[in-house]
Subunit: 456 residues, 4 copies
């Protein structure tokens, strides 16, 4: 639940990092940062807050350096501290390193304990520090070999950008859980969690970084290495990126998020067959694509039945208990004139805890909706993610311990239907192979840690 | 291009003002403020910035008072100064007054000169100060009579909320250009520029304040007066509120903005007849409703072809000339996989200067669109608005001095069609009578001033 | 309790205003502002806070204009609101005016009521707005005549800098209560509440503005006018400026504050005769000069017995009741090793309420002082000031309702002596004639208002 | 050039840390921080800025914990980055540690290289991280043994407060270069760089932490250990703390700073014999005590000849080259009326580069001083400090490469005299033994590193 950027250029990159971080702001709003290589030194700034608030013009112009990496971080429970801002910057054996990470290790705690046993001192609370320390331990100048040794140790999901002495490195874990795209703009190399960061710079997307791949850009040239020729597991691209997390304009592992979402809606509508309703209403913003797909296939019209306040962001006074409903309505206000007396198909991209759905349906009923048929364009989330999506503990996943009937009743809708796993896979059109562990519990990599480290 | 709120309650209203101002934030992002009546005193805070940034929890709890008014202000050229923040608060004849205003007078300069000739000193640069001074001159305790005398003088568009000694007042100009809605929540009275501000408090919309109406809430009761029984011109509700400015959930003068926008799209599609295109693409966010209407009527599918960055707000580093295109793409990134090689109907709610359309079309072409047919769900804007919509000088209105062919070429689309005035009126379903001067130059009230005062 | 600056130059003055406001920051820490004349326009910025915090480099460079005025404002009870920031800027009869004021009118309320009766609307809560409105009423282009008419109306203490269309004006009330100094730097004219503001710009002090004088700088030349040839009362320079308020380097009406303070200490010591004590201890910072004078005359040594924390400023967490003593000690910590077991003469410049003295003496006793003889280098403050010094209501002046014996007991010292009025006058060496109403109740101008307006 | 605080209590300590950090703010204005032990967790906040700006009331109340340490950091060249804020907080072998440090190691680089060779990754640029990592390597639960092993490695000056699992630790290096005082308030233990931090909490100073001493407070009791019984070098208390750095109310190693400074002035005056001058003028603030001493002994009167602006702090617009003199005068304005035509003895506590003295003397001359005899109440600084005082490189120390005659000419005074080393030692009254390496180059601990690490 983070985003990373890496840029290798022959001129200052801070401004480009700024623009590209801005474009992937949806991947993390808690903190952000960038580090640039200025000769032998690394200049950096990182802080809590949005990209537009953290970086001011005069500071950007002081962040001199033609190689740089950047990061936006999602707000995860417990780990909200400036010490967790990235990129991490450090030096080891007189070599400077900076690293930014998106993902989650399944053995971070195990590794951390091991390192602590060896006398290492951890100053933050994130997987990233674990990766950095292991890499530092191995790194004596040969980045590829050090990374291979590091990748031998770290298990789980990671997309990394690393800045070494005169090189920019991009790494994707052997299963390719988390996205990482490579682009070019003239002689400049750009790596990013999503292609929009390359698009907005006027760059061209070249390809995805491959599972297990290490790309090193140095002396103006990019070279590709692989963690291991022997260990090349099937790609396990995270399907939840396509369902919810990525922007509609993201094309990750050949699959475009928007088109996939449209197809999910269509397949769900077809599964529904004839439904007796007046209109399809999306839960904004992420339900729109699925709703359009559903409408296309069902012949129903899509209508905006919930108006989203575009200014609800980070600064909002904490509502008291009795004001909580006000806070919900500020975010999403039912469009009463449209839905009053109507039977609606409410389309959302996913249901995790069920609490938001419950509140939305309550407010729609109060605004006069006659019938509400909730349609979810993804399967029931029944298992926690170990690979970086911030799903809660299984016990809090409504689908893990309730039947469809129970959920219908709990959420308060008139009917409820999820897209099934088969349908979802059909919607991918086999563009890639995917991790779908949150739906079926088939974890490509076993969880090793008991407690949670702060993922990113 | 502003929004106002007034609340009369028997308990503190600052928190409710906060929530309701938050909900009409789209009506003005430059500055905001609120004033509350605390016994004989008026407490207030106003500052540059968004509601969520200006008001902090501890300050709100210090703004004691059970009657209050609030304001959000739009950033208009030249007038960006904290002295223009509202509500204005003052005292005259030992009576305290606070006022918040949405609209624009056509004789503000004339009146100001007259008042200055009489030795009045103006400290800000807005119509509102003119209104306040005239009201103050007349006001010796009888609010209704003073307001009638004031309304004799001020010409143009205004929706006002005023806080007197123990009363809350709502006023709408005799043509009813600008919206003002009245609601109740229990014994509490709420006035707001848009109904969403009443909805989110859990209140119920009662009705629109009528053109020329003065509603005074005092001693827990609301009484209605009219400026004049003799002068009751036809209602001239601003059609541009429905086309662009109001939120989709706004119902102003009986017409719901969303439904109107849908119908505009449908009527435009019907006028188009068969169009040879692959899909309908809205310009987000305001083009969505029209695009859905167009799609419904044309049988084409609506597709998201432009992805909007939800975090582009006020803090953004000023791009250099060569970065200007980056800034456009950060705001709206074409969804290349969807539009590549496709013939698209691009739907926008209005075209004013034509510069944004031009940039969007350029970026769509670069992303591979084959044909782009721009469809605008309102007529060509050919005349400046004198009543509070921030349209530029006529010379900058592309439609005022270009034919359709010239515009097509200038903007760079393959074809261009506007909804005609007749179609637009049809879409209103005669729910009210409207001011459409920006389209046909038939100004209900003649402009008197030569120079511009800061509207609001 | 404010400070004003005016600069007339042929180049931009914002930076110089900044430096000079910084130098008179001690005259007011609540808010500050500056206004500069840019052709026909007045640019300005004013805000709550210290000069160094309010003005940033990029803003200063945007405040273009070669004539300018500035203001620092003291925090007075009740009036702490950004609406009271100065300079006030306004326009009347298409003429722009800006004004900054130090002083207090004795008939501000009376005038305000009169103006309100005529329908004027007041937006702030300060004398300054009253002055501005009266001036505006008269002003039709002839500044001198308008000012004379204005001065006919306003009674009390005022030092004003005014910026008109192409002129800078400095005005001092007919008694010259508040200081106003005129300086030059090359062709540039500088007016300031204290000479340090001229010194730091490298300018030269020319002279004090005279009581009743109006100096107009226009077309590069300064011309002097007088309010009235007939009404030329004796100068009544505020003695409290010299006792406490002005900086040690201030020379106001020929009297240097530091030298005066030294002499006050000497005269007090001589009055004391032989005192059985080990050392003289000043209450920092304002007690130092008097303590040195006392030490010089008494033959005792001066010792730092209280250490002041240089960082205690505006941002400090409000202490709870039980932490209040901590807060006092943070500000002034007794130097235990110096005072332990010693008999000390504690010298302060003035005693107003007596509460600070009481707390200091308590902490000195806890630190081991054997005897504490409080010596005050000014007479007992028995009357409120109506002319701009922020003394409290008479009932809160300890000397107005307690005998020396009672005060000694209340404050907790072993003995207490004030400089008498005669001694104080002797210390002035007849350099000017002074207002000493706070000591003897002989008010040069009678108070007309009952309630208080916000002075400045 | 930093300050540390440690508090062990049975109730929350954040508020007390706040007050005590406020009182030692003079030891460091760049950044500050505190860490408190909350059960198994360490809560902390650290940021750039002054104590009063960094900590807000609501945050303090969230920093729950009854053991805590705090830090203020001085701005040293190159190391101005938030990553250098202290306390450092980390975990190792599942044990949490926090550390705050005042001092400078002479072998930090050597140790860091060694650790980096072992694969350790450094994230900041300070000695403190080196100490933390070494301690972490040894620490398996026995704090005393780990500290002894750590102290075997680290050479130089350090006063440390450390927070372990349920204990507060205070450590002073074997020479006792940097100060560290122990106090009690009821059952509460307080450690601080200066006693004022204990005074203001109402606590009582118990004693200095001894050179080489390790004091561990645990289970409500304090136990003392020593680094080594065999290695007990002579105490080398930093004399420069007494000359300049500590507050006047500091009593470090039995010597009170104020009394010492007075004596230095007296001894210097006696060495001077009869001097033909009108007055003694201190360079504020640090020259006051020496000036008083000089005046006492010489029979001359002390006069304030330079007025210091109390508001010159961190926020000040960078002056251009030609404005540099303005900036000097804003800080210190000559009191012209006092010094004009006078022959003055200007007393300063120390001369390092000579640039400030030069500028002050220039401005005094411009204000009319006839003769200026500069008297420095400490010996010429000829050697850089390796133990934490931020003296520049030898080449920039004016006394290291200029004779008295040359300095007199360069600085621009009429005569110049320093206190000699013998006189300085006499002024200490043998209250302790001191490090005076900056004056005589006799370094108690040899410098090992070539480059500089960021001291603290």
């Amino acid at each position: 639940m983070c985003g990373v950027i890496g840029i290798y250029s022959d001129k200052d990159v801070a401004k480009e990092l700024y623009y590209s971080l801005y474009s992937i702001q949806h991947r993390g709003q808690e903190s952000c940062g960038m580090a640039v290589l200025d000769g032998d030194d690394i200049n950096y700034k990182r802080d809590m807050g949005l990209v537009g608030d953290v970086f001011k013009e005069d500071e950007l112009s002081q962040l001199k350096g033609n190689i740089g990496i950047g990061h936006v971080r999602y707000s995860t429970a417990g780990g909200s501290h400036s010490a967790n801002c990235q990129p991490l910057v450090g030096s080891c054996r007189r070599r400077k390193l900076a690293i930014a990470h998106n993902g989650n290790l399944v053995n971070a705690n195990y590794l951390r304990e091991m390192l602590e046993e060896d006398g290492y001192m951890f100053q933050a609370n994130s997987d990233t520090e674990v990766i950095l320390y292991i890499l530092a331990r191995y790194y004596k100048g040969d980045m590829v070999e050090s990374l291979k040794l590091t990748m031998d140790q770290i298990k789980g999901a990671y997309a990394l950008v690393i800045m070494g002495e005169d090189e920019l490195v991009a790494v994707r874990d052997p299963h390719g859980f988390r996205p990482l795209v490579m682009g070019k703009k003239g002689d400049e190399y750009i790596f990013a969690s999503e292609n929009c960061a390359i698009d907005i710079l006027g760059g061209e997307v070249i390809r995805d970084v491959e599972p297990g791949e290490i790309i090193i850009v140095k002396d103006g040239k990019a070279k590709s290495y692989f963690y291991s020729e022997n260990y090349r597991p099937l790609k396990k691209s995270c399907i939840f990126e396509h369902i919810y997390f990525a922007r509609n304009d993201a094309t990750i592992d050949n699959l475009n998020a928007y088109e996939f979402r449209i197809r999910c809606g269509e397949i769900l509508a077809n599964a529904d067959g004839d439904i007796n309703a007046d209109m399809v209403v999306p839960v904004p913003d992420s339900g729109w694509a699925g709703a359009i797909g559903y409408a296309n296939a069902s012949g129903l019209k899509v209508s905006e039945g919930l108006v989203k306040n575009r200014y609800v962001g980070r600064t909002f006074i904490k509502p008291t208990q009795e004001e909580r409903e006000i806070a919900v309505k500020i975010k999403l206000n039912p469009l009463a004139s449209v839905i009053k007396g109507k039977s609606i198909v409410l389309v959302d991209d996913s249901v995790v805890r069920g609490t938001t759905s419950k509140r939305i349906i309550k407010s729609l009923r109060e605004a006069g909706a006659k019938e509400i048929h909730l349609r979810v364009t993804s399967p029931p989330v029944q298992y926690s993610c170990y690979y970086g999506i911030d799903t809660p503990n299984r016990s809090k996943l409504i689908a893990s311990n309730h039947s469809i009937e129970e959920m219908t009743k709990h959420i308060g809708c008139d009917s409820l239907r999820f897209l099934d796993i088969e349908g979802m896979l059909k919607a991918t059109e086999n563009k890639a192979t995917f991790c779908k562990a949150c739906f079926d519990g088939e974890y490509p990599v076993k969880k090793i840690d008991k407690e949670e480290q702060g993922s990113c």
